[in-house]
């Protein structure tokens, strides 16, 4: 009875629909979010270390990093990393004589680098706060036991830091999955890019952007459920009031 093909048939898997494009987009979004988050975590640890080290210049460097990232829009930072970062890397590589013409930086690398750079700044302050929340006596006790720096970090600081940092880090995870949509402007084939190309090809803007929004919403809701579990697990063995 329905001569017009249903909109949902546009989501078919294969050549006739955009189901596979969306699936690939979701996978790419998750890939860049996870990789970017791991990079951000490492940068965050470095940044927190720099800010807490006690050296004035290291502190200033860390402070410059976080202030800079907080003041500049994420979209602009992504464009900066993509256009300027790739040129700078190539200039260095050509200068060192590694390559003749420079290398092509894939949208995946650019996306991970820019998301990692941005969220590294946010995680710096979260991790710094978490480390500062650890009772001083515990670190002194570890020192008194003769633990060296790395062991102190691994056994005393890191496990407790994670517990304090988990709520903030969870929020940043939710934010990084949403901000990963911004890398569609540099041509990375993630979820929003899939929705955009499907919408502009079929002119069914409302339908495809709604499907895209629904996919992002699903990622968020699933993440929220998982994060809640992690939060409970991270604070196991802690007495509650």
């Amino acid at each position: 009875m329905n001569p017009q093909p249903s909109l949902w048939s546009l989501m078919a898997y294969g050549d006739t629909g955009y189901g596979d494009e969306f699936l690939r987009g979701i996978l790419f979004t998750l890939q860049i979010s996870i990789s970017g988050y791991l990079l951000a975590f490492m940068l965050g640890l470095l940044g927190a270390g720099a800010k807490l080290h006690g050296n004035r210049w290291l502190y200033r460097l860390g402070d410059l990093y976080t202030t800079f990232v907080r003041a500049i829009p994420e979209l602009l930072l992504i464009l900066m990393v993509y256009y300027m970062g790739s040129r700078a890397v190539n200039a260095v590589l050509i200068g060192l004589g590694v390559t003749e013409r420079g290398i092509n930086i894939s949208p995946f690398i650019a996306a991970v680098a820019s998301l990692g750079f941005i969220y590294g700044a946010y995680l710096t302050d979260i991790l710094r706060g978490a480390i500062q929340a650890i009772p001083k006596g515990q670190i002194e006790a570890a020192r008194a036991y003769g633990m060296h720096g790395l062991m102190r970090f691994r056994r005393i600081i890191f496990p407790q830091m994670i517990r304090y940092a988990v709520p903030g880090m969870g929020n940043q995870w939710l934010n990084i999955t949403k901000d990963s949509a911004l890398v569609s402007v540099i041509g990375a084939f993630e979820l929003l890019f899939a929705a955009k190309s499907a919408a502009s090809q079929t002119k069914e803007y409302i339908f495809f952007y709604s499907v895209g929004a629904l996919c992002f919403l699903t990622i968020t809701v699933v993440s929220m459920i998982v994060l809640h579990r992690i939060e409970r697990r991270a604070s196991r063995g802690v007495r509650r009031a």
Binding site: R70, P73, L76, K178, A199, Y205, I206, Y209, A213, T220
Partner: protein
């Protein structure tokens, strides 16, 4: 001094290297001219969005499922999906709807030319997004208002509405002021997303110049400088506003340090 004199002064000419004269004489004036558009986006969507947040927060704390459920869904969608998706959905989606409609026989877009201007769609999307985020913040603040104060209002015989207007809302706004300052800075940064739907605010202008001149460093760094300065000024204003609204809560006497510590 104009751009030619700048080149003469630095004894350089336009080349592939970093072009200070181009940054200072071509990029910066254009970006500064675009600042009012960014601020217009910020102020309109900030004001309307924060006003909309009040009924949303009130509905969210209500016990009536007909009120809290739609409000919960609205907040979840606004906070759970990327702002860029919302902007695209509103700009292209409304365009799809309005493009098919007619007004008195003429197409909608021709009858109301302002509908073709992307800035209104950007404001609409930013407003809804702000309403969702602030609604959730305000909800937390409403729940944080000390219960005794509301009870005191009741003991005075105030009606429900009067209690809300005189006690709950003012207290809640004060509680969430620090968070609201952060949100305002985030909103300023979010206005940059309007550049993706052809709004020529600061980032949009920078992108336009970049695509025209093929000069990446000067345009993007120029935009970065403008945003850093804007955020710096806005932070100052917000700090002042916060202090002004909390004036009666300041410590009564502030003794300058120089007077207390004397060698």
């Amino acid at each position: 001094m104009d751009i030619a004199q700048c080149y003469a002064f630095l004894n350089t000419e336009p080349g592939p290297g970093f072009d200070w004269c181009f940054l200072l004489w071509s990029v910066m004036p254009a970006l500064i001219k675009a600042v009012p558009i960014s601020l217009f986006l910020l102020v309109t969507s900030g004001v309307i969005g924060n006003l909309l947040a009040v009924p949303i927060a009130v509905a969210r704390v209500s016990r009536n499922p007909l009120l809290w459920m739609p409000s919960y869904a609205f907040i979840l969608v606004m906070r759970g999906t990327p702002l860029l998706v919302q902007i695209y959905l509103i700009y292209y989606g409304l365009g799809q709807v309005l493009g098919g409609m007619t007004w008195d026989g003429t197409p909608m877009m021709r009858a109301f030319p302002f509908l073709r201007d992307a800035i209104y769609y950007a404001i609409f999307a930013l407003t809804l997004n702000t309403a969702g985020y602030t609604g959730e913040i305000l909800r937390g603040a409403i729940l944080a208002v000390p219960h005794g104060e509301i009870e005191a209002g009741r003991a005075f015989g105030m009606s429900k509405w009067l209690i809300f207007r005189r006690i709950t809302l003012p207290r809640a706004i004060r509680i969430c002021l620090p968070t609201m300052s952060t949100e305002t800075i985030l909103l300023l940064k979010a206005t940059a997303l309007a550049s993706t739907i052809t709004v020529y605010e600061v980032l949009g202008t920078a992108q336009f110049i970049r695509q025209q001149s093929f000069r990446t460093y000067e345009t993007l760094i120029g935009a970065g400088i403008v945003y850093i300065v804007l955020v710096f000024i806005l932070t100052r204003i917000l700090n002042w506003l916060e202090r002004y609204l909390n004036k009666d809560r300041e410590s009564p006497v502030a003794i300058p340090l120089a007077q207390t510590v004397k060698p």
